[in-house]
């Protein structure tokens, strides 16, 4: 093809290790590494998984989930002051007055909008507001697949067991029940919308295994599954005429006087800095995850805006949160070259047969264990056993032997079914069809989040629904327990986005627009002061700060306001 | 490049440029031509990659940009010519023939234009000007030979009185004509070799009105009427054409005489006994005419 302007390729050192990988490849093709026993799994996770490091977390000092252990980065944002001064905001002029306000323009937001519309809400009574562009979300970056038990030798019952086991049985069973039962319906809905899932000539879905699944039930659109789903949903939202307001993050929710009902939100135009008041009879939070918090200093697979805004906003309104210390580290983030460190290398690569191999060319874990197990195993291999590869920048990693895929499934498989991965590495002069790629765990998914019930209603500290507030997608917790399986996130956003849309549509039939106050914020500020939290930190974060140190130390803001 | 002699029994390979309509509204033209070629031991190999030739409008433009598409097709043929060991590019659509041939000549006659085109297309190899563009009729007459075609006839087209309609694109301008534009005979001779009666008629080279059908359908309808009336008056019971646009225009519904219009390759299919590629309607029309004609 065309000249790549930036051939990086592997160093001499790394090539030596690759030779060892190539030497053992033929033998390994016939080798299946033994699966880990439950006892070994416990030990491995306790000793090597970042979630289990007590220094990484602390208990929350205030709010409905006071005492809950969360990572420091999360606590820093929750124990933080609002961006606005409640007394300085004029709530009397309403700029957007709708029935359903959806905060977040990713997969869950789009699904919620469509299903609210299908259930009778006119398009112009719905409003999607999003921080960046419509579709800028983690959804687009999901690669490998979406789970649904639709083959004859599979069933939602088996799917249920997989989800519970993967989540360490900490999941809320009623949420899991909904997830697995709705799954095939979601795939059918997508098929009708024109999503191009991988199929054979007869129309049967080509389904693969993921980590921790007992059946092959991952539907994929090559390795652009998330992108394919998101762009079809976006296209359909726009076809229905549902309005979307871009570059308008929500900086605070609005509640009625006693704060028992959420009635709207304050939007902030990222470009003009103007704030707008939006009133909604129902508000759906679909704000996604927290990768850009770089928990424990890890790089992340997440998009630019994944800054946990939704959790912060909901917590101030009194929502309970759970499992925020259950951070999923995707075992295979790119570890080389430097430019793409942390980016996702889909589990589908392992699903198609590639093995994880250390610097000496030996396997050390069964590649399709649940993600937390594999991640811990890789960290142990690199830092405990010191059998990882070390890159020129000091990054450590193990080999993911992708050429095996070509040997197992035929030449051309990677270019056809993993074209995103191929492209990602080919841009830097590495050919995954011929050379293994280097991987290391990367911060990937917020397993926990806002507490919801099976109607996608947000629950307070007493497990009672907060009126008018719904949540769906990565922002919510309880579906995946302590560890999400591959393919259940794309599923969750659809199932619970749909559920939130339907629930909200039902709720607004008997609802009237509510009063708009910031009383809950005033109460929160009081709580912060009582807990002696200094006014240094502010939240929500909205966008991460990546500007160079040198510039930041000399940057001054001169335009007023 | 040397022409390959073909000894019958061997497959001769020629590069083939379909053009957009041959894949959509004129698929029947392509199907019948390929069936006929197969019978003749000719393998028409479609170019691996090709784009729209740009239609005749683009030839009227001075801007090199409007010739790029056609030049790129010639380059694709050039790339493939080493694989088939031949430099001939065959088209079925008379318009594509006209555009490709004239573009090739334009480039040869204006080296500056060719240089500009080559420099603009910096991702493709340079066009060196050595592709020979042929219309399928030329292949049948000059490469295969009409005598061979006569040998292949298993069902002589008795009863058919064919008006051979040439239209413009394969005869004008003079530089690219495949036959004498004043008195073309190639299609007539072909029809006779197939066993049909062939009639010359005054409007055989009158323009079908081409794209006027898009701007003012009445012009095309009137023209179709004239041509069909003339064919009937001169004793024909069927018209053959070589171009999808002529085919479309001549088939426009008019008040005048009903006379079927088909592609010449469709008649060849009947004559060669490979009529299963024809649509049931076309087959019915041809066979019933043959019956009628025989019974007279």
């Amino acid at each position: 093809m065309y000249e790549l302007a930036q051939k990086v390729g592997y160093t001499e050192e790394m090539r030596k290790s690759i030779e060892k990988v190539e030497e053992t490849r033929d033998r390994r093709l016939k080798e299946v590494f033994e699966r880990i026993s439950p006892e070994e799994k416990e030990k491995l996770l306790k000793e090597w998984h970042p979630d289990y490091r007590p220094e990484g977390k602390r208990p929350l000092k205030i709010g409905p989930s006071k005492g809950l252990m969360v990572p420091h980065e999360v606590a820093d944002l929750i124990e933080a002051y609002p961006l606005i001064d409640p007394d300085q905001i004029d709530l009397s002029k309403i700029d957007y007055d709708v029935d359903i306000l959806i905060i977040g323009g990713g997969g869950a937001g789009a699904a919620a909008a469509l299903w609210a519309h299908y259930n009778g809400v006119p398009a112009d009574r719905i409003l999607i507001v999003t921080k960046l562009r419509f579709g800028d979300a983690n959804t687009k970056m999901a690669q490998g697949g979406i789970q649904a038990a639709d083959r004859p030798n599979d069933s939602p019952l088996l799917h249920f067991i997989d989800v519970m086991g993967g989540g360490h049985y900490a999941n809320k069973p009623e949420l899991v029940k909904l997830l697995v039962k709705e799954a095939p319906l979601i795939i059918k809905w997508h098929e009708e919308l024109g999503v191009i899932y991988d199929k054979d000539e007869e129309g049967n879905m080509i389904e693969l295994s993921g980590g921790g699944t007992c059946r092959r039930r991952l539907h994929a659109a090559k390795d652009y599954t998330g992108l394919e789903i998101m762009r079809v949903l976006m296209d359909e939202v726009l076809n229905k005429g549902i309005p979307v307001l871009e570059f308008s993050p929500v900086i605070e929710l609005l509640t009625d006087e006693d704060g028992r009902r959420v009635t709207g939100a304050i939007l902030w135009n990222l470009e003009t800095k103007e704030y707008h008041i939006a009133r909604g009879k129902a508000v759906i939070l679909a704000t996604g995850g927290y990768g850009r918090l770089h928990i424990q200093g890890f790089p992340t697979t997440n998009h630019y805006g994944a800054t946990m805004d939704g959790v912060v906003l909901a917590y101030r309104v009194g929502a309970k949160v759970r499992d925020l210390d259950a951070t999923q580290y995707h075992p295979t983030g790119a570890a080389y070259p430097e430019q793409i460190v942390g980016l996702l290398v889909t589990e589908k690569v392992r699903g198609l047969g590639a093995q994880l191999v250390n610097a000496e060319g030996k396997q050390f874990i069964y590649p399709l264990e649940p993600r937390d197990v594999v991640a811990a195993a890789i960290i142990r291999e690199c830092y405990g056993r010191n059998k990882g590869v070390i890159t020129p920048t000091g990054m450590r990693g193990v080999w993911l032997d992708s050429p095996m895929i070509e040997l197992i499934h035929g030449e051309g498989t990677i270019k056809r079914y993993l074209s995103a991965i191929y492209r990602m590495f080919a841009r830097f002069g590495i050919d995954p069809t011929k050379e293994p790629i280097l991987v290391f765990p990367t911060l990937h998914y917020q397993n926990g989040g806002i507490e919801i019930n099976v109607n996608a209603q947000v629950l307070d500290g007493n497990n009672k629904p907060i009126e008018g507030l719904f949540a769906a997608g990565e922002v919510s917790g309880g579906v995946h327990g302590k560890n999400r399986l591959m393919g259940n996130s794309l599923l969750e956003i659809n199932v619970f986005g749909k559920r939130a849309g339907i629930s909200a549509a039902k709720y607004i039939r008997n609802a009237t627009p509510g009063k708009l106050t910031l009383n809950h914020v005033k109460r929160y500020i009081k709580m912060l002061k009582e807990a002696k939290i200094p006014p240094k930190r502010r939240a929500p974060m909205i966008l991460p700060e990546y500007r160079g140190e040198k510039v930041l130390s000399r940057a001054i803001s001169l335009f007023t306001p | 490049m040397p022409h390959l002699e073909s000894s019958w029994g061997e497959r001769m390979k020629l590069m083939y440029f379909p053009g957009c309509t041959l894949k959509t509204t004129a698929k029947n033209y392509e199907d019948s031509a390929l069936a006929v070629s197969k019978k003749l031991g000719l393998e028409l190999i479609e170019l691996d990659r090709w784009n729209c030739c740009g239609v005749v409008f683009n030839l009227a433009m001075d801007s090199v940009m409007h010739h790029i598409g056609a030049v790129r097709d010639l380059i694709r043929a050039q790339e493939m010519s080493s694989k088939v060991n031949d430099n001939r590019l065959v088209t079925l659509c008379s318009m594509c023939y006209n555009v490709l041939k004239r573009t090739h000549q334009l480039m040869l006659n204006d080296p500056e234009k060719l240089r500009t085109a080559n420099e603009f297309m910096d991702r493709e190899i340079d066009y060196e000007g050595n592709i020979e563009v042929l219309h399928f009729l030329q292949v049948l007459r000059d490469v295969v030979g009409f005598d061979k075609i006569e040998e292949m006839v298993v069902k002589p087209l008795k009863g058919l009185k064919v008006a051979s309609y040439y239209g413009c694109m394969i005869l004008r301008p003079k530089e690219i004509q495949i036959d004498d534009y004043r008195n073309p005979m190639v299609l007539n001779e072909l029809m006779e070799k197939l066993g049909a009666e062939s009639s010359k008629f005054p409007y055989e080279t009158k323009c079908c009105s081409a794209y006027d059908v898009v701007y003012d359908r009445n012009i095309a309808v009137e023209r179709a009427l004239e041509i069909r009336k003339a064919a009937v008056r001169w004793g024909a019971n069927i018209i053959v054409t070589t171009c999808p646009l002529c085919h479309y225009n001549l088939n426009l519904p008019t008040r005048g005489p009903e006379i079927p219009v088909v592609y010449f390759t469709e008649l060849m299919c009947v004559a060669f006994g490979v009529d299963d590629v024809l649509s049931p309607e076309v087959r019915k029309v041809i066979y019933s005419l043959m019956e009628e004609g025989e019974n007279e």
């Binding site: 960046l132 687009k140 519970m164 039962k181 319906l185 024109g194 630019y304 430097e338 510039v551 | 729209c52």
Partner: protein, 230 residues
């Protein structure tokens, strides 16, 4: 990320004409942040999937215009760059249920694709290195399947459309084409339909309810004893 204490090699890049010295090896995106730009436009997933950060650039005195994603392209000395934050093109509204997967559907909604002069500028501009022109040409001759295949990896960055002399908006065309292909031109999955029917009839309700009530010990037993399909 990079080792401290080690002297960084710097390169000169020009962000919209203004020279900045940035460490070698950074991506364009990180280099611009190093230089002090806080992205609002021109950033999205930072991983090569969303098409927000396409950068158009030249290098030194080379006349050639290059494109690349800022998040996936390393800076080079002499790089002269700009980001196109937005490409103006409203998409037409349609009801997929009412459309047929034919060339005439495409031409009805996007008649301008016949203006394609096959200049190949779109293909040359594509940061995903797709055969964009071939996809449009396939549509002109009604080959929807081929266009869907060729355009699958499109991330809708819009650079092809901004540069197209015929003013075609390729990514909108391709989105429709792919949906038509997915909905009408692939066989429907029969096993999926059967499973959906079973679920809607309530076949799994009772057992799922029982499963949900079991509790950790039972779930553990079921999980550890389940048979795994190879």
């Amino acid at each position: 990320m990079s080792n401290e204490g080690q002297k960084m090699r710097m390169v000169k890049i020009y962000i919209m004409g203004k020279m900045y010295e940035v460490p070698e090896g950074l991506t364009i995106m990180k280099a611009m942040e190093y230089a002090g730009y806080k992205f609002i436009r021109g950033v999205g997933c930072r991983g090569g999937f969303c098409g927000a950060c396409t950068t158009v650039y030249r290098i030194g005195n080379d006349y050639k215009l290059y494109t690349g994603l800022a998040c996936q392209t390393t800076v080079q000395d002499g790089m002269y760059l700009v980001q196109i934050p937005f490409v103006p093109a409203e998409k037409p509204v349609y009801d997929l249920e009412k459309l047929k997967p034919t060339a005439s559907t495409i031409l009805m909604l996007f008649p301008e694709i016949t203006r394609c002069v096959a200049c190949n500028t779109c293909t040359k501009s594509c940061p995903q290195e797709l055969e964009v022109m071939d996809a449009i040409q396939a549509l002109i001759r009604g080959d929807i399947a081929k266009a869907a295949e060729l355009s699958f990896d499109c991330i809708a960055c819009g650079i092809c459309s901004i540069r197209c002399p015929a003013e075609i908006v390729h990514y909108h065309v391709f989105q429709l084409v792919r949906r038509l292909y997915g909905k009408y031109m692939t066989k429907k999955s029969r096993h999926l339909e059967e499973r959906v029917k079973e679920i809607l009839e309530g076949k799994y309700d009772e057992e799922l309810e029982k499963l949900a009530q079991l509790g950790v010990e039972e779930w553990k037993k079921l999980y550890e004893s389940r048979e795994i399909e190879e």
